[in-house]
């Protein structure tokens, strides 16, 4: 995979209509061009060579396969691991084929053929592709059949009919929510007394006067509230700030003391 000069490809990548057309956006990451997977690419190459699955011209196919992967890389398309695994397998088969055959071995090609396992996999894959096509046709037909419209006795749709998958999905969401809350909690608890005093000072400096109650209401939990309360006591004791209550039961204000007076 070292040479960088443009290669001649025996098929036109941009204009070739392969049989595999996948519209699923969600699988883009694992799709290589039009090929859903390495087996699809192999089948395409074999068909292109008009070769037989039971007698794959492994050397040619391997070369084509590797070219395709190089092309992908040159186009900056991430080559999925599945394609690389297959590339390694092809190279391995190719090298096995190059080994001279043991002349003394029994004349049983079926067992010996290093391509057999691959051929079996390709056949199996083809079968399931045919099965997928059958399912596609069935669901198309099925969509021509309609169930009755809703009637009074149908339960209302607020309720969901649950499966095990719903259970685990919901449980994961609950755990995620709980984790988020705990993290928030931890974040909040990290507010030290010094930090609280600093914040309070800044507020009074900026606003001249603040309502004690609304300051306390900004706290997220009991612990923060306690810190805030101590901060107020501290600030009143040491700084030029005083607590003011204009009338009984009125709002208590924290006010900056005028230094000039």
């Amino acid at each position: 995979m070292q040479e960088q000069q443009p290669e001649q490809y025996s098929f036109d990548f941009l204009n070739e209509t392969a049989e595999i057309v996948t519209e699923a956006g969600d699988e883009l990451g694992i799709k290589l061009g039009k090929f859903a997977g390495p087996l699809d690419l192999l089948l395409f190459l074999i068909r292109q060579e008009q070769a037989n699955i039971f007698d794959i011209p492994i050397s040619t196919i391997t070369d084509e396969y590797l070219k395709y992967i190089r092309l992908m890389r040159s186009l900056d398309i991430a080559v999925a691991a599945d394609f690389l695994v297959m590339a390694a397998q092809l190279i391995e088969i190719k090298s096995k084929m190059l080994l001279p055959r043991d002349p003394m071995a029994p004349d049983d090609e079926e067992i010996d053929d290093p391509r057999k396992e691959l051929a079996d996999r390709l056949l199996e894959h083809e079968k399931f592709k045919a099965a997928a096509h059958m399912l596609y046709e069935r669901t198309t037909i099925e969509q021509a059949v309609f169930k009755r419209g809703s009637i009074d006795s149908d339960e209302n749709n607020l309720e969901i009919s649950a499966t095990v998958f719903d259970l685990i999905t919901v449980f994961q969401k609950v755990l995620a929510r709980q984790k988020e809350e705990i993290e928030l909690e931890i974040e909040r608890e990290e507010i030290s007394l010094a930090e609280m005093i600093r914040r309070l000072n800044k507020r009074i400096f900026d606003e001249t006067e603040i309502r004690l109650l609304s300051f306390f209401e900004e706290m997220h939990n009991r612990r923060e509230l306690v810190t805030a309360f101590i901060a107020v006591l501290e600030i009143v004791r040491t700084e030029s700030v005083k607590l003011v209550q204009k009338n009984t039961f009125g709002d208590i204000l924290l006010r900056k003391v005028e230094v000039s007076s």
Binding site: F146, G149, A162
Partner: protein, 194 residues
């Protein structure tokens, strides 16, 4: 491959199709069946492209037919439209069926609570509150009523709170052999995180 798409465009009704009376009756029957509410003669006429008199005749023929063969269903003219419904005499049996119909249908709150109980059992109400962050009392009542959960004795802790776990019905309804059959978080990690 699919020829289904075709019909989407043709919203206006074409030239009156050469349709036999029997065919009109069949179409009217199917349309009443899929409609969510009583369907008017006018609507039927527009869709089928047949005049109102023919539609009305088809509806009347169908009504007679259902009556004559003593079907479990009947055609009713109601609220300015026509409707397919069950025959009044059978309501007792139908009510009985609807009542006993097993249902795994749950509200989201109940489903969440059930999930927590299934995965954390045995678990107490305060523990569920801790995990869900909200009160679960009515969800627990629902789940007990639906017999999806059962009590599992008191926890040996302060206040001896009641513990809950899933029932045998839970396994049956969710198609599980035993609790070990429940997928673990790890099983779905790869799927869900994508």
């Amino acid at each position: 491959m699919t020829e289904i798409d075709k019909d989407v465009e043709s919203d206006d009704v074409a030239e009156a199709p050469a349709r036999s009376v029997g065919e009109l009756v069949a179409v009217v029957e199917a349309l009443m069946f899929v409609a969510d509410e009583p369907i008017t003669v006018r609507a039927l006429s527009e869709i089928t492209g047949e005049d109102k008199d023919s539609v009305l005749a088809a509806l009347e023929a169908l009504t007679e037919e259902y009556k004559n063969r003593e079907s479990g269903l009947q055609i009713r003219e109601i609220g300015g439209g026509w409707q397919l419904a069950t025959r009044t005499e059978l309501h007792e049996t139908i009510r009985q069926y609807l009542k006993t119909k097993p249902s795994a249908k749950l509200s989201l709150a109940a489903l969440e609570t059930l999930a927590v109980i299934a995965y954390k059992q045995p678990v107490t109400i305060p523990e569920i509150l801790e995990i869900r962050g909200v009160q679960s009392a009515s969800a627990i009542k629902t789940l007990l009523e639906k017999r999806l959960i059962i009590t599992k004795g008191h926890k040996e802790a302060a206040g001896r709170p009641m513990q809950y776990g899933t029932s045998k019905d839970f396994l049956v309804q969710f198609g599980l052999k035993d609790l070990g059959d429940l997928p673990s978080i790890e099983d779905f990690q790869d799927l869900v995180n994508q």
